[in-house]
């Protein structure tokens, strides 16, 4: 098994799917000649040519719309947004076209498209370029939303997303691209809608996805060392469909839960998860479910303030101590 970066895992997934299915193509800003703003598409233009790896003008709404149109004809476009902040310009195509077409055509026209790119904050990119939008897209019936946390998951989930017949919003992370992890040499896919227990434990459930998986795992290590608590880390992987069963199995076991996410608290992913938990596992809760989220403010540019606005292991540990009545 090779150890590769998250970036290269995505690259492998794209390469394998481009090879596997001639209907798959990649389109976006700088994906071809420049080999991707974050080098995810390195070498693909050379291998597959200009018909399969297409550079676009800086016009998100335009190329997202072209992608939806191509999908309507039966192709399987992968649309790269340089970041999801820029995809705000294209959101009409994602929400009003891609997500609605199957329904509005009475089931005749499916849209097998993947919109992908990095989401969330990196470092000091300030308010307009540091946003986690998963709850925006997860809100829309007709869209699937995927946010992998590791190279292994990134590759397996991107392959499934490309093969899926529904539009998939695939959220990566600029801070994740250099993360290394083991990826099998042989081919594999990871089904959408399956959470992954990244760490077993019986004392508290930490629910997380994307970048906050690393935060939760670090907090879990510290909880074990400093408080002798075994935290179970559940990585959602798919936000929608949501793997409610895995969440409930864990919460019923631990009786307490903290949800960690990068996005803002109001109407966040955690709000949805809490709703599921209070309905499905009410009698198993020994404490209110708490959430650790990004601060409810536009992301500050100031380095110290930015750090303070993001979820971190200390915040997770403080919340765990509260739900475990350790204070």
């Amino acid at each position: 098994m090779a150890t590769i970066t998250y970036r290269d895992a995505l690259n492998q997934a794209l390469r394998e799917e481009l090879e596997r299915d001639p209907d798959v193509f990649l389109m976006g800003e700088e994906v071809g000649v420049y080999q991707g703003a974050y080098k995810v598409s390195r070498g693909l233009l050379e291998s597959f040519g200009e018909r399969r790896v297409i550079d676009t003008p800086i016009a998100e709404l335009g190329f997202a719309g072209i992608g939806v149109g191509a999908a309507m004809t039966g192709l399987r476009p992968v649309i790269e947004f340089m970041t999801w902040n820029f995809a705000l310009l294209a959101i009409d195509q994602v929400v009003n076209s891609a997500a609605k077409m199957l329904y509005m055509s009475g089931g005749q026209i499916g849209i097998p498209i993947v919109f992908r790119g990095p989401g969330g904050a990196a470092l000091q990119l300030a308010a307009q370029h540091s946003q986690a939008f998963e709850s925006w897209y997860a809100h829309i019936p007709g869209l699937k939303v995927v946010a992998p946390a590791t190279p292994y998951d990134a590759k397996g989930l991107l392959k499934s997303s490309i093969r899926d017949n529904d539009p998939v919003v695939f959220l990566e992370g600029e801070m994740l691209y250099n993360m290394k992890g083991e990826v099998p040499d042989e081919e594999y896919v990871i089904p959408l809608g399956e959470a992954d227990v990244k760490r077993d434990g019986g004392d508290v459930t930490l629910i997380c996805h994307s970048k906050t998986v690393a935060v939760a795992l670090k907090a879990a290590d510290q909880l074990q060392e400093e408080h002798g608590m075994a935290a179970e880390v559940v990585d959602l992987r798919s936000i929608r469909p949501l793997d409610v069963e895995t969440i409930m199995t864990s919460v019923r076991k631990t009786n307490r839960c903290v949800i960690v996410e990068e996005g803002w608290p109001f109407c966040g992913i955690g709000a949805q998860v809490v709703d599921d938990i209070q309905r499905e596992a009410f009698d198993h809760l020994d404490a209110p479910v708490l959430r650790v989220t990004g601060a409810d403010v536009p992301m500050p540019y100031n380095k110290q303030l930015e750090r303070a606005a993001k979820p971190n292991p200390d915040k997770v540990i403080a919340a765990v101590k509260q739900v475990a009545y350790l204070d």
Binding site: D283, H284, D286, Y325
Partner: protein, 416 residues
């Protein structure tokens, strides 16, 4: 120290209690465990005990008042201790004129304080004036998990102190709490065997419940010749003075013996399993003014006819006086109901879950009976057994009833 006297759940199903009489009065010195008042529950008249010591400073629920479980009925404290805090936490305190605490302080020992208009005070108020802690007030703060665990263990949360924020009772509090006041039906003594349900048993259970109500009853009737039992009873009662043995006593003895022979009928339906008891605890329906209650003769299988007779007489008397404790009317493994004294020939009784069977006993009447071609007049009695089909199948119940019939028709079989 101020101790609040709350209406306690004195029976498994009690939601409110009626204060019949106060055995202690305002100004009386009371110790932990003293009986303060007699309270009528939905089942019986029970004693409300002091959970602290001091002077019974104030009674908030006068005789005749009906009070919800968990609400304040009195306050125990030291003679000049300030009890306004204890009163202030409840609507009762708010309803009192503000002059009251001062007056109480002036005349701490006065006992002739008129019984307050307590019924009105005991009524719920729309607002809670201060946050509740531990057992005070009507609301117990507990996590959903703690409530579920307490329920499973038969633990009364009002006796558990919470270690969570604001006195919330959490898992660890329930786990460390002793079971002081069981609210669930106590499991009867003696051994038993839980048998997991097989698929076929599950399917039978499901289908039968779908067909008729939560407990799928079926009924078996047999007619018993009572000539020999009649003679046996007459002879026994001629032997000595003292309380006479009744037919019901004989039937109970026979049923207990038959249940030993047919443990399949001495069982509880437990939803995911069937519990077969090794001991027989016979519940006997006793009519009381308000309805009926089923005192339980424990270990009826190990008791003599005379013991059963004496015990039932004593239980029935206290049942009619509503003096039975919850332990005395729960935990039966099989029931017997006799309406023979009302000239009922035959009837069907409704099963008392989780028990799986009940035997309905009719009157003994003289009837024309054909035996070997000859017409005779004989004393006959009809027995009808109601069976929970999830536990007892037709042939199982029939064999049990056959044993009952055999023993009643041949009373000597009892001493085999």
């Amino acid at each position: 120290m101020v101790t609040k006297v709350l209406m306690e759940a004195l029976s498994p199903t009690m939601e409110e209690g009626k204060v019949l009489s106060w055995l202690k009065h305002e100004g009386d010195q009371v110790s932990d465990g003293d009986v303060l008042a007699e309270v009528e529950t939905d089942k019986a008249v029970m004693e409300l005990q002091a959970r602290g010591q001091g002077v019974l400073r104030q009674i908030l629920a006068g005789e005749g008042a009906t009070v919800e479980v968990g609400k304040l009925v009195a306050v125990i404290a030291d003679p000049d201790e300030d009890i306004s805090g204890a009163l202030g936490g409840t609507e009762a305190g708010a309803a009192r004129p503000s002059a009251k605490p001062e007056r109480a302080a002036e005349e701490p020992e006065t006992a002739e304080e008129p019984a307050a208009p307590t019924t009105r005070e005991a009524e719920p108020s729309p607002a809670e004036s201060q946050p509740t802690t531990e057992t005070s007030g009507r609301r117990i703060k507990a996590s959903p998990l703690a409530r579920r665990l307490a329920d499973e263990r038969g633990l009364d949360l009002s006796g558990v102190s919470g270690s969570g924020p604001g006195g919330r009772i959490i898992k660890r509090d329930v786990e460390s709490a002793e079971v002081t006041a069981p609210v669930a039906a106590p499991a009867p003594e003696g051994g038993y065997e839980d048998v997991e349900l097989t698929q076929i048993r599950k399917t039978i259970a499901k289908r039968l419940v779908q067909s008729i109500g939560p407990v799928p009853h079926f009924f078996l009737t047999t007619e018993v010749d009572m000539e020999r039992a009649w003679e046996a009873r007459a002879q026994l009662n001629a032997l000595e003075q003292g309380p006479r043995i009744s037919f019901n006593d004989i039937i109970l003895k026979v049923v207990a013996q038959a249940l030993v022979e047919h443990p399949a009928c001495n069982a509880w339906w437990m939803d995911d399993r069937i519990r077969y008891f090794r001991d027989v605890h016979l519940a006997v329906a006793v009519a009381v003014d308000e309805g009926l209650i089923t005192p339980v003769i424990r270990h009826a299988d190990r008791k003599s006819l005379r013991e059963i007779s004496a015990e039932l007489r004593e239980l029935a008397e206290r049942a009619r006086a509503r003096k039975l404790t919850p332990e005395e009317y729960t935990g039966g493994t099989f029931s017997v109901s006799n309406l023979g004294m009302f000239d009922i020939d035959q009837f069907t009784a409704v099963i008392n879950p989780p028990e799986a069977g009940i035997l309905a006993v009719g009157s003994i009447t003289e009837k024309p009976v054909v035996t070997d071609g000859d017409l005779e007049v004989r004393r006959r009695m009809r027995l009808t057994m109601s069976c929970d089909h999830r536990v007892i199948d037709g042939a199982t119940g029939a064999r049990f009833l056959q044993s009952v019939k055999l023993m009643l028709e041949n009373p000597l079989a009892l001493v085999w």
